[in-house]
Symmetry: C2
């Protein structure tokens, strides 16, 4: 009998499980082993804010696949609490620590997929070790935060939550924590929330969270934490102290690349693992996918590090298919992201003005206000649409939107336009669906393009 | 002083008013005259079902522009109840009948835009002249239907409405008339509602309307009408009589082209006025736009007649700009349409299987069922996605969707894909926004493309 071919996957969340699943789908008779250092595989980290807000009651609902079902239905062997510690690329062996029984083992591979994910940034500030300071990435993080809120809010005593970082997760957590009845303060180092997004959009978001009772401290740097009995009580900033019973550190993530780096695998954009369009690393038969890997940005043609769950799934699938002998491409991303902040939908795709400037592009920014539906439909809501447009060519470089309705899916249309390298002339001519309950005759997408087009022509 | 240049526009609804407005925007010192044979300009015919259902109370809310405001704010002269009867293309004169004072006048033009719209089809069946049989196209139609319902439903007596034709308007009117408490029967000649749409979608629609208490008679032909005291009481079909107090004839529309034809202007697809991408007709300085004009279908590269409000607005704008001396293109359409049928959103873009077959294309149809949001968000709804895909090339030819949530805007993403001539491989790799309240990690758009891709590869 022939020896089976073996795929080893390091990391069992989105990219890792996608890789193992697509490999086994194509090669059901070969072997796929997933090494996961944590307690869970295949969970939806993006749903954690809804678990903490208690809209999702049970953490099991965050998990789309258990090791048992992965084995039974997909033939994947999953080893939980198995941390890969070293890769011998010559002998094609992964050295693994089984942290349940605290022992080492060596697992040979024919193909290897690195899906080691990312690590939330936790700067070495004074007091960072105090209890009550959390990052938010894993199911365990979610459980710990929820438990702390559940036991930390005695009758009628409000609890003070401080969110450090005004990015997507920080904004989503505003809603979660307000829903749990907490006082919420957001501390953001820069002049706006949501990172590099345009002020036409971030202004709407800031107004929304402030209107929902969130205290927003912009241009404020965290310098450390104070506590009592080992528990955090205060966030120390350059502008004074902020009372805190619970702190969420959501200031970004770094790719987990130590094991790759030590194995001599080349790193790329943002310090993530360099990959080509087939998700191949610099070493043969080793692939990388998900939050540990870079991706090609289709607007700039340059590699970037933008870790997102949906990209992880796609990259994982492509890595698994290619490990199984296919020749599938992952073309790249256009930087699409969407989030819900209270009843506000906020979305972006492509380059922000700040990013376009960084690229040295010659562009202008054009903002319009439209409505989600026909004015004859009284429940329609305002939508703000901002386009980033290349001067001279009129090429759409990016789009951003905010509104209480009809934003989340409209951005996808513009993502498809970016994929197709369309100009604002093309966008202005799109044949979009119209019916009064869903859109205006001139959809906000078209109005935005027409206004940008007029500006382009110098009218 | 120089003589002013004069644009004359025949027809004052979507295309006509768009043409006059864009002309005046570019040439504020020149003259624009709009001739409208009816009582209203610039109304939203697509909103009529919501007026009849009484969600829109006042018919004035259907009208986005009055003649007074058109004159005051845009400098457009509007002549209501002025019907153009003949065009002298040699002398550049439009002969007009003023039906208010019943007199003739002659209006010279430098540029002419034909925006004569379409006429609902009203076949010469026995009894067609009975009161209570309506078509639905103009504000007056809406007012007449609503008045008839208002006075025709005394306490506790249900009224029987029959909708002849199972197209978009017929389906939308099911909801309107059920909301008004009427018994509703739909008579459809073919084997399905919604014309050429795929059975995977029309089946869902039929289930929905039947579930809402609508009686659906398919494969049934109307042969005439019976009445009492001049009022309709029965629709006669090839399968027997159907009781009716009110009948809506919504079996399609024909372009109003008599005046163009008599002037020697060439007709094209579907008997509509032939136009090029600049909306020019076969005669110099005469343009056509909207429901009286054909359009290029960007999927087939052939001219088609698909009259829709959103196309009318775009074509009108382009005609007006070019009449003002610009050189703007209207590239064409991809056949996008969306409708709401009770709480069901139904949408299409591109070619239906029937249309692809007519074109002699080699294709397959692939249907999947996805969900509108993450399974962790309990309010998510099923979405059915059907793709029509060219064999060999994998090019997306069309897409259709139905579901109670998240359909209307998802179709626009696929419309952009069709505009960009993308393959299902491209669609499968789109960087769409993901957040649990709005989508699944693999959006139904992506799942559909992946399944089609697998089929394409013969896997």
């Amino acid at each position: 009998m022939d020896k089976k071919e073996r795929l080893v996957v390091i990391g069992g969340v989105a990219a890792g499980m996608s890789a193992a699943s697509s490999f086994k789908r194509l090669k059901p008779d070969e072997e796929a082993i997933v090494l996961e250092k944590g307690d869970f595989i295949s969970y939806g980290a993006c749903s954690l804010p809804y678990f903490i807000s208690d809209e999702i009651k049970d953490f099991h609902d965050l998990i789309s696949l258990t090791p048992e079902i992965a084995t039974e239905e997909r033939g994947i062997k999953v080893l939980l609490r198995h941390e890969a510690v070293r890769i011998d690329t010559e002998k094609r062996i992964v050295h693994v620590r089984n942290t349940i029984e605290d022992k080492e083992l060596s697992i040979p591979y024919d193909k290897l997929v690195l899906a080691t994910g990312a690590q939330p940034i936790k700067p070495p500030l004074p007091g960072i070790e105090l209890y009550g300071i959390f990052t938010l990435r894993t199911v365990n993080d979610g459980i710990n935060i929820k438990n702390t809120i559940d036991k930390g809010v005695p009758q009628n005593r409000p609890m003070n939550a401080v969110i450090v970082g005004g990015g997507y997760i920080g904004m989503e957590m505003c809603e979660s924590l307000r829903k749990r009845g907490l006082n919420v303060t957001v501390i953001e180092k820069t002049d706006r929330v949501l990172g590099t997004m345009d002020l036409s959009i971030t202004g709407i978001v800031e107004e929304k969270i402030i209107g929902e009772g969130v205290r927003l401290l912009k241009g404020t740097s965290v310098e450390g934490f104070k506590g009592r009995d080992g528990h955090v009580t205060e966030v120390v900033t350059d502008k004074g102290g902020v009372e805190a019973d619970i702190v969420l550190l959501v200031i970004g993530a770094r790719p987990n690349v130590n094991i790759a780096k030590e194995a001599g695998i080349t790193l790329g954009a943002g310090g993530a693992i360099m990959v080509d369009e087939y998700m191949r690393t610099s070493i043969e038969d080793i692939y990388a996918a998900g939050d540990c890997a870079e991706a090609l940005h289709l607007v700039t043609g340059k590699k970037v590090y933008i870790p997102l769950g949906t990209t992880a799934n796609k990259q994982g699938r492509v890595a698994g298919e290619n490990a199984a002998g296919m020749h599938t491409r992952f073309d790249g991303i256009v930087g699409t992201a969407v989030t819900k902040i209270f009843d506000l939908e906020v979305a972006r795709t492509g380059l922000s003005p700040v990013e376009a400037e960084r690229e040295g592009l010659s562009f202008f920014v054009s903002t319009i206000k439209g409505r989600s539906r026909s004015s004859a439909c009284p429940k329609g809501k305002p939508i703000t649409v901002t386009y980033i447009v290349e001067k001279d060519t009129g090429r759409l470089l990016g789009a951003q939107m905010a509104g209480e309705e009809g934003v989340a899916h409209r951005i996808d249309t513009l993502a498809a336009c970016l994929y197709g390298k369309m100009t604002v002339h093309d966008v202005a001519r799109l044949d979009l669906g119209y019916a009064p309950p869903f859109a205006t005759v001139w959809d906000p997408i078209l109005i935005g393009a027409n206004v940008a087009l007029k500006r382009l022509k110098g009218a």
